[in-house]
Assembly symmetry: C2
Homo-oligomer: 499 residues x 2
């Protein structure tokens, strides 16, 4: 046991519960980086204990051997102030590290073990390196169907849930991503709920894309809404389009993404569990999943798509959910807007059927909404598409969207765009043969999306469109000159190919 003075470290870059000892103090307790230590501060009723992850500083000037460095959150959780004393003792590693090692060695984990790991991930009791080993184990050995279901259930258990009551039909849709734009959700929800169905949609913010559905919706209405209020909204207008992080559904997921990013690891079982956990937590029982297939997206061929489709359906069945999976074209952006406000305008145009509404966005939304209507028995087989189309063309879906926006907390029906823009023009005539999705996403992000909601791109031309030399291909929007110029450095012949 050591008695040290707490020293606050303001910079949080990784795990929350980190404490830093100078090398000589670590040696006194025979400790190594990543070991756990028990920190105790206060007395009597004010006594607080935190099990922290140890980092060791070999930099003589850094911590000092009378002190223990505490990251801000550890400092707050221990409730210490300058001059206090922190008792430092030994503490075993969480059991979950043993189970992570088992997964690495190729053993299958049962529900109890998986749940230990997920609980510790959510509570920030595992270090980045330990979570990386779990990701590696799942990536290499895969997760079998039972493990995937157990992981799903555990992610559900370690987050909040919505409950619409037994027997109630609750719809949802999900796209596994990779296609810029593609804001079909914001058309499908109003189409289905305008028919009296329940469709509560929690979406993510952008991770690597220029905008998530939550970012786009946020330009029109509030999206960070607590669970109890979401339930009221759903009862009132049938559905919502909210940010999942606001209700803490599937909280484990975000924490694992940080470990997956450095090598872009996407273990299929984790992907499946992540998606299904979000649907299950939201109370959904009829789910349509959109898998874009194409050379520029996660799933590059039909065979892989079919395989993933089968797993989604199997897991859905075991969880008691009706799941339908469709493979769609992932070769070009869907819609014209890229970036929160630009996408929202695209959606509102498409709901209203204005002259520059996106035909592809409307079409895909009606197809998918139609499938959902057929899945839940609202429409007869073969009649779903027409029923959806009717809601869109009659304006019922647009009026329903306005109701949803008002129920969530309306901001505007036509968000502002960034004040600076630059149109990129065709260098020759022909037709658009190819659009580079990755470059589109990068340009929009560097222009400021999603942080600057008005930034991004408007795609004036789409795949197959005829173009004359000098005509505008796309327009880049940014809040400031510097961001606009940075974004324009990525514009070149490779973004659009004219042939």
């Amino acid at each position: 046991m050591l008695k040290l003075k707490p020293k606050r470290i303001e910079i949080t870059t990784g795990n929350k519960w980190i404490a830093v000892l100078q090398q000589n103090n670590a040696d006194k307790l025979d400790l190594h980086p990543g070991d756990r230590i028990e920190l105790t501060a206060g007395k009597g009723k004010n006594k607080k204990i935190v099990n922290a992850i140890l980092e060791i500083s070999d930099d003589g000037n850094g911590i000092g051997d009378k002190n223990i460095g505490l990251f801000s959150e550890t400092w707050n959780r221990l409730g210490v102030k300058k001059g206090d004393i922190v008792n430092v003792g030994l503490c075993p590693k969480p059991l979950s590290t043993i189970y992570i090692r088992e997964k690495l060695t190729g053993q299958h984990l049962d529900y109890k073990k998986i749940d230990f790991i997920i609980r510790d991930v959510v509570q920030e009791d595992l270090s980045d390196v330990e979570i990386a080993y779990f990701v590696a184990g799942c990536f290499i050995h895969g997760l079998n169907d039972q493990e995937t279901i157990d992981l799903t259930r555990s992610i559900v258990r370690n987050g909040s849930r919505l409950n619409f009551g037994k027997g109630k039909i609750v719809l949802d849709k999900h796209c596994i991503g990779g296609v810029p734009g593609n804001r079909t959700t914001m058309l499908i929800i109003p189409i289905c709920t305008s028919l009296g169905l329940t469709m509560p949609k929690t979406s993510s913010r952008a991770i690597t894309s220029p905008s998530g559905t939550a970012d786009t919706m946020e330009t029109l209405a509030e999206v960070a809404i607590p669970a109890d209020k979401l339930m009221k909204i759903a009862k009132k207008v049938g559905g919502f389009i909210a940010w999942g992080g606001g209700v803490d559904l599937a909280a484990a997921d975000d924490k694992m993404i940080k470990a997956r990013h450095p090598l872009s690891l996407d273990p299929e079982g984790m992907l499946l569990a992540s998606i299904m956990a979000k649907k299950f937590s939201a109370g959904s029982n009829h789910v349509l999943i959109d898998i874009p297939v194409g050379e520029q997206v996660k799933i590059s061929n039909k065979k892989d798509g079919d395989c993933l489709k089968k797993r989604f359906e199997q897991i859905g069945k075991k969880l008691g959910m009706k799941v339908k999976v469709i493979l769609t074209d992932g070769e070009e952006p869907i819609g014209k807007g890229i970036g929160p406000a630009l996408e929202a305008i695209d959606v509102m145009n498409s709901l209203q059927g204005t002259p520059d509404a996106s035909r592809d966005l409307r079409e895909k939304a009606c197809e998918m909404a139609g499938m959902l209507l057929e899945m839940c028995g609202k429409a007869k087989v073969g009649k779903g598409y027409n029923m959806a189309k009717e809601q869109l063309e009659s304006g019922a879906a647009y009026r329903q969207m306005v109701k949803i926006i008002e129920a969530q907390g309306k901001k505007t029906l036509y968000p502002k765009l960034s004040k600076l823009k630059h149109a990129v023009k065709a260098l020759k005539s022909g037709s658009v043969k190819y659009i580079n999705n990755a470059l589109i996403a990068r340009i929009a992000r560097v222009a400021g999306a999603p942080k600057n909601a008005g930034a991004g791109m408007w795609l004036d031309k789409k795949l197959g469109d005829k173009v004359k030399k000098g005509e505008v291909l796309y327009t880049v929007y940014a809040d400031g000159q510097e961001a606009l110029e940075r974004a324009l450095t990525f514009t070149n012949d490779g973004v659009y190919k004219i042939g």
Copy 2:
């Protein structure tokens, strides 16, 4: 490109080349934790460029959006001072991250790819999480013989080497560890070199044990000796017992250990490569490897030992080295001293044949030295043991040890012990049935070994010894009362079992 002011962060806990951006600045360049950024400072001749690993701070008070946080080493390497400007640009991830991903997916890596990884490990260009993924890939998929040889060669290439000239017989021995005490090296080197043979020995400091051979030797003589001086010593007295870290042989190894520790991962191929690289770098061509087998050490049964033995021999053959591997008893500590000074005294007693010399240490050393003498043709088959024994009993080995100590830089021939000690006595009579190696190691470490060279344990009784109630089993040495008491909290019935 961003222009920011450098802010020095004094606490180094992980990689050296780390830079910290506040979240909003990272968003401007579309960057995520673990991405690489190019930092440029200075102008003209003073211009310096560093590719750093990015961490992102979401703590508003931490870095500030006009600043970039630089860990001390990054600060020094960039040569900045307060008020300077650092240009921050994008920079691709090292190619080695792609090869790490390949290893994770089960592909075999060729020499070129392995060498990219090892070079980046040595240069600190890979993050802890990335190195962890490499360890995971090697742990799960294993390294085949060719990869192990390539890894060995790469570790050799990315460190220093000793060269004794073509055709020269150079001996070495290695123990894969796990047994406390076991300082046979310090008897074998003087035995062999007293016969005119060359035996340059580089050893490690303690990682998880109470003392490494380098720590023990350091109580008698200097051990941090540069390569050129080591060559002179070897020419003068035939051999030395130096710290490997001082000559930077196999530098990649230490960096990988940090990633292996959290889950105690010991990929066999890495273990093999690490050992063989050290031997190869030291110029050795006749190597004896000691694999202790027992329930308390790394290798728990003969079958695993035989399998490892075969791999050592195969790899040795491919590297052009003569390698002999022996399986020895790993059930109890060898010798009586645990901790640097206590082990050194045990060695010196055993070389001199004093009444309390350790019989088991002398015996094991003569057996192993004998094998080396036979391997290199100095002794005829079957005559090695006696030749070694003769050197020990005649005092020739002791006189040679004194020469080696003097050549390296003598400190003393009888190091000081810690001033406080506590004898732990038998609670009943009987004979020693079991000694818990892990507890022995922990007690000695908590008592202060290896940092406090005089701290540790003296094992007054060994396995099989008769004991009367009240007789001393072992004695704990520590520099201070606090450390002694901390160490004694680990002493209990489980350390020695009397039956």
